[in-house]
Amino acid sequence: MSDNQIDEKRRKFLTTVTSVVGAAGAGLAATPFVKSMEPDASVQAASTTTVDIGAIGPGEQVTVKWQDKPVFIVNRTPEMLATLKKVTPELLDPDNKLPQQPPYCNNMYRSRKPEWFVMVGVCTHLCCTPTFKPQQGSVNPKWLGGYHCPCHGSFYDLSGRVFKDVPAPRNMAIPEYEFTDNDTKIKITSLYPKSKLC
């Protein structure tokens, strides 16, 4: 009788220990399989995009794909740059208080060089791609040039700074980028960590 009782206790004990160790093993074994679903090294390789800016004429915008997102590159004319001071009173965050740009772009032009504008073309409201509207008066009679988002009507200036009283809460994000190849190319490398897209 006591033999059976001892057996029962030993059975229970060994079953518990084995189950715990076995479960731990199963979890460890599952880890490589789950991790294999994470983006692989070839995705890492595709993480930068280099654009030849030679063909972009004054006042023109080019859209390139970077990490599956649209990036706008604009060759801004002096007239376009002049509008930036004029619209300042109507902007929500004209002084870049929110960290939506790398430190070297923390200026009115939100760029390394005033004429070359690089921005992630994602509306900070709900992630649509805003339309480039550089023509003065094209959106309304007082329009000086900028972006209009067709989804819910947000407006931005020619530095991607958001207007007051529109759905979007932040200026559009400026990515980390550099000029390469004797300033003939722009290489978009990563998102500024503190910035938020949408």
């Binding site: 084995t18 399989f33 294999s36 994470e38 692989d40």
Partner: protein, 403 residues
């Protein structure tokens, strides 16, 4: 918690199934190591499906991208090498386990009445497995994948009248290319695994209907105790669940040792000639199949006539189906049949030698030994009806031996 399980069990037959197939399914108590391979085969099936799924996520069934996608798995995907080596090791282990499982059946007469259908279903599973392995082997699209694919599809074309049409269905094009990879992937990932799962389910059902054989070849149901349960039987759960779990751990140790330390097994599990991309213009110097298909390849090559070779192969594959009726001796287990033991030994040696021959480059010197051992293989089955009728046997015990 108990309320929840009761609620579920009032609406689904889990409790009854557990009783019928686990806690009140009685199996002979004298199972030895040869009886672990059935549950191991099921384990390997699960391993292949899981590792296969994770490989599928990264694989590309396109003739220009397939080989590179496998390298992406090996070089770029996190832990990709675990996925790939698990799947290749699993493929070879599947056959090792299944061959040992089948050999147990041959030794102890597990194919005899009332288990004829069990044996037949099992053999169908084996043939399906060979098809699955062949289809999977073409997918990585190395040069061996390509030319191996070509060899088998040209065998299909040997079928009279409809051969060419069948070959075009198999290939989807003039040669082995993207259409072939696409349909082979569909078959390898969806169709054949579903067939395998269904066959395995029916296989287990057939087993549970009649109960398992045992190393002494005596029917435990013939000696019931006062409670109606076989005296020499024990409930599958907990006794064989706990024993199979131990067997599983030992198996997994060997499995992981291979994956970690010798994944190619020096070219046996992953053929080294496949480490170069498919080239329709350049046949490898030796096209040999994977080791588990090698005995049949040797049989094919031993008969130079195309249709004759296929005929010999066909015979070699069809004869085992009739084993339950070819063996006429009332004694089941090789423990009490010294003559049958000798015949089995010859069969095993023949299969090993044929396997070795099948892995060598083609050579006229191998024709004679190939034919001899092909002959011995076929003679095992063809002479069994007569030999088993007259063979002397030892005294079979009434109750099982626990050793």
């Amino acid at each position: 918690m108990k309320g929840l399980t009761d609620w579920i069990n009032d609406r689904l037959p889990f409790r009854e199934l557990a009783r019928e197939h686990l806690t009140e399914y009685y199996a002979p108590k004298n199972f030895n190591i040869w009886y672990v391979f059935g549950s191991l085969a099921l384990l390997v099936l699960v391993i292949q499906i899981v590792s296969g799924y994770f490989l599928l996520i990264h694989y590309q069934p396109n003739e220009d991208a397939a080989f590179d996608s496998v390298q992406t798995i090996m070089f770029d995907v996190k832990w990709g090498w675990v996925l790939r080596y698990t799947h290749t090791t699993g493929a070879s282990m599947f056959f090792i386990v299944v061959y040992l499982h089948m050999f147990r059946g041959l030794m102890y007469g597990s194919y005899r009445k009332p288990r004829e259908l069990l044996w037949i279903i099992g053999f169908i599973i084996y043939l399906t497995l060979m098809a699955e392995a062949y289809l999977g082997y073409v997918l990585p699209f190395g040069n061996m994948s390509f030319w191996g694919g070509k060899v088998i599809t040209s065998i299909i074309e040997a079928v009279p009248y409809v051969g060419d049409w069948l070959g075009s269905l198999a290939r989807g094009g003039f040669g082995i290319g993207t259409p072939t990879l696409n349909r082979f992937m569909g078959m390898h990932v969806v169709l054949v695994p579903l067939v395998l799962i269904a066959l395995v389910a029916v296989h287990v059902l057939a087993l549970h209907k009649v109960g398992s054989n045992n190393p002494d070849g005596i029917e435990i149901k013939e000696h019931p105790g006062p409670d109606g349960k076989p005296l020499d039987g024990i409930p599958f759960h907990p006794f064989y669940t706990v024993k199979d779990i131990f067997g599983t751990c030992v198996f997994l140790t060997a499995f992981c040792a291979i994956v970690l330390y010798a994944p190619t097994m020096n070219g046996l599990f992953i053929e080294l000639a496949n480490y170069t991309p498919a080239n329709p213009l350049k046949t490898p110097p030796d096209i040999t199949p994977a080791w588990y298909l090698a005995p049949f390849y040797a049989m094919l090559r031993s008969v130079p006539n195309k249709l004759g070779g296929i005929g010999a192969l066909g015979l070699a594959v069809i004869l085992p189906f009739f084993l339950p009726w070819l063996d006429r001796n009332p004694v089941k287990s090789v423990r009490y049949r010294p003559v049958y033991l000798g015949m089995l030994a010859v069969l095993v040696i023949s299969v090993f030698v044929l396997g070795w021959i099948g892995m060598q480059p083609a050579s006229p010197a191998l024709l004679l030994p190939g034919r001899i051992f092909l002959g011995l293989y076929l003679l095992f089955f063809l002479t069994l009806p007569v030999v088993s009728h007259f063979e002397p046997t030892k005294q079979v015990p009434q109750r099982v031996n626990m050793s």
